[in-house]
């Protein structure tokens, strides 16, 4: 989830406020597939990823492309508008009540000594690692991946060597959206979701990405772990209802002391 966001920002310096809401659409898509077609989300997540890839490219081509050179404020507002539309479309289509997918896998737990391991979460974790690795390989080992990184570092230079920057941006945005689509499908059996979940997911994504470092894949991954650990610790030591304070507190600290995040490069 955060990996997708960091990709979008790292490459295009566009802040995708609609990230969380895209994820919610991913979740709803998985939900529809599960209830109408009976496909388990652990299988359908690839499809959700693909669908969101298309959405991402569409958004990028249609909207973001026009303002790539515009000041940051405009980009933020644009994505905010997209977020509003996505969230409330979901509300109109699916209604406000929380939905959840019942997957056979989600009901299992393993006993490992004194611990109980939630199989669903374990699977999600493993898939997340696999996807992240796949993405890393893609970015560092394939032609397109290298082009994406090049455009991120130096758009003019990339153009000079003949890369079609617009297409690359579209690809990057699309991949970022695909990540989020997969994440949505994987998480859907664990997390009851409503259209309004989008907002908190966006905020969490941003938390993670800032803490881990914008534009750094490793950072996004580590950031994700950090934030969840921080929140759990907060729940244990403080009142659980205050656990979100921990991640926000961490966010503020990082913003002030090391805005590049733990693994990020200094923003241009």
């Amino acid at each position: 989830m955060a990996v997708g966001l960091t990709l979008i920002f790292g490459v295009m310096r566009v802040v995708n406020f609609a990230h969380g809401d895209m994820m919610v659409w991913g979740m709803y898509l998985a939900f529809v597939l599960a209830t109408r077609a009976g496909i388990d989300p652990y299988l359908s997540f690839a499809f959700c990823a693909a669908a969101l890839f298309v959405l991402g490219v569409a958004v990028q081509r249609g909207l973001v492309d026009r303002i790539v050179d515009a000041p940051h404020e405009m980009q933020i507002l644009l994505m905010l508008g997209v977020a509003l539309v996505l969230e409330n479309l979901a509300l109109a289509v699916f209604g406000p009540e929380p939905a959840r997918i019942r997957s056979a896998l989600a009901r299992l737990t393993w006993e490992v000594g004194p611990l109980y391991v939630d199989v669903a979460r374990l699977v999600t974790f493993v898939v997340a690692i696999v996807l992240t690795l796949a993405l890393w390989l893609f970015l560092f080992r394939t032609e397109l991946g290298r082009l994406i990184r090049a455009s991120a570092d130096n758009p003019y230079g990339a153009r000079v060597i003949g890369a079609d920057v617009r297409r690359i941006y579209a690809a990057a945005f699309g991949i970022g959206a695909a990540c989020v689509g997969a994440a949505g499908a994987l998480v859907a059996p664990i997390l009851p979701f409503q259209p309004t979940t989008g907002l908190s997911l966006s905020v969490t994504s941003f938390n993670i990405v800032i803490i881990g470092g914008m534009g750094s894949l490793v950072g996004a991954f580590v950031g994700g772990l950090l934030v969840s650990v921080a929140e759990s610790l907060g729940a244990v030591f403080l009142r659980p209802s205050l656990k979100e304070l921990f991640s926000f507190g961490l966010l503020i600290l990082i913003l002030l002391l090391r805005p590049a995040g733990l693994f990020g490069r200094r923003a241009a």
Partner: protein, 424 residues
């Protein structure tokens, strides 16, 4: 200039809009029907209960009119002027003003306490009797009573036919005590858990206050009350904590979203207990929740305002509701709105005059009505705060994947199952 154009255009479009919405503009004050402003959150996050309320109220109006209207006033019929708050307090105010401007002589609403309190100011300002069908925050009526007592307001126009937060608490504590006595257990480790939002906090506070006042034999672990932010993304930490407390009884106050996380988590972490008994919250009995949670909800008890299914009329109304709502159950929300309209009809029968708000208020205060469809502890009356002390919850249990009333005995439709069967 531009601003003037916008204003004029707005006013005409608003008039057109209201006409389209289907309400005749009051050209002159010619009340051939008595208008009640029914304001509920029919869109927005509380749309489902809001729509249930609106339908319940509409059905009651249709029933009253079909039976001949307000007989003592020449068969005067009732009519609803509908409003939507979207759960935002400012809309509560706007809609209240709008329906009163369109001729409503009484107000009905509005489910969430923020919008309800905004409506209170309009009711008091414009002297419009306001019957709250659903809203639990105690201060809503208490504040008005106080301002009348202290002379800042002349008349209290706001009354409530619904259990208050403290009423919920007292009812729940009483049921806990009786159920445990019935099962011959005295749990010493009752763990209270709640969703940390407006509703959850209110309920938990009411419950704990009633518990401390009653000092029953069973005991809550007072220092180990677990709260979580609502809506939660993950409750594994909270449930681990629950498990480490070795609870006898788990008492959760949930919302639909958190219930969907909590119950499976309790099962996954294999937290054993005598049972899950909720002091009263949504999320543990609705059709949608049963569909989503299945077996995890079986045997769960919760104390909620419920319809009296032993009353023959209730079954007929529930059936009609099921038809008109495409399969939904007649429950707390639709039920209390339905009863509120019946109550208004009864009040209007007794009121000396209908064009004088104070006369209506006088009749309201003198109410002693037994024709309600919900489970009450006596006739509907109003106390000095404007609340109905006989509005009580009922303990329901999910048995056979259906919610049924199990306690108190007078209300029970099926036998209570507690402690929860092992392996269940």
């Amino acid at each position: 200039m531009t601003t003037r154009l916008t204003r004029r255009r707005f006013l005409t479009t608003a008039a057109a809009g209201t006409a389209v919405a289907g309400f005749p503009l009051p050209l002159r004050a010619q009340p051939t029907r008595f208008k009640i402003g029914a304001v509920h959150p029919v869109t927005g996050p509380l749309a489902e209960p809001g729509q249930a309320c609106r339908l319940g109220a509409q059905m009651a109006v249709d029933a009253v009119n079909a039976a001949g209207g307000i007989k003592s006033k020449g068969g005067l019929e009732l009519e609803l002027v509908l409003g939507d708050t979207q759960t935002k307090p400012e809309n509560g105010r706007v809609e209240a003003e709008r329906v009163v401007t369109q001729g409503a002589q009484m107000l009905l609403g509005s489910f969430d306490s923020g919008s309800t309190n905004a409506m209170v100011s309009v009711a008091q300002q414009r002297r419009v009797p306001f019957l709250i069908d659903i809203a639990a925050a105690d201060p809503i009526t208490a504040n008005v009573a106080k301002s009348v007592r202290e002379g800042q307001q002349k008349v209290q126009y706001v009354y409530r036919n619904f259990p208050t937060g403290s009423g919920f608490g007292r009812g729940a504590v009483r049921y806990f005590t009786e159920i445990f006595a019935q099962a011959k257990v005295t749990p010493k480790r009752v763990v209270v858990m709640y969703c940390n939002d407006l509703f959850g906090q209110n309920q938990s506070r009411g419950f704990m206050a009633a518990y401390k006042a009653a000092r029953p034999a069973w005991q809550v672990l007072e220092d180990e009350i677990i709260a979580w932010p609502e809506p939660p993304t993950d409750l594994s930490t909270e449930v681990s904590r629950l498990k480490s407390l070795k609870p006898d009884v788990i008492a959760p106050i949930t919302r639909p979203a958190s219930a969907q996380l909590l119950l499976p988590e309790i099962r996954k972490q294999r937290v054993e207990s005598l049972g899950i008994v909720g002091p009263g919250s949504p999320g543990l009995y609705e059709a949608g929740q049963i569909a989503a949670l299945g077996d995890d909800l079986e045997y769960v008890l919760t104390s909620v305002p419920w319809a009296n299914f032993k009353n023959p009329r209730t079954a007929a109304v529930a059936e009609e509701y099921r038809k008109r709502s495409n399969g939904k159950t007649f429950d707390t929300n639709s039920g209390y709105s339905y009863d509120a309209v019946l109550l208004i009809a009864d009040t209007l029968e007794r009121a000396a005059r209908l064009d004088d708000p104070e006369a209506i208020v006088a009749a309201l205060r003198a109410t002693s009505y037994t024709g309600g469809l919900m489970q009450y502890g006596g006739p509907i009356v109003f106390n000095e705060l404007g609340d109905n002390p006989n509005a009580i919850p009922t303990m329901i249990q999910i048995l056979g994947q259906k919610p049924v009333a199990v306690w108190p005995k007078e209300a029970a439709v099926q036998k209570l199952v507690f402690p929860r069967p092992k392996g269940g």
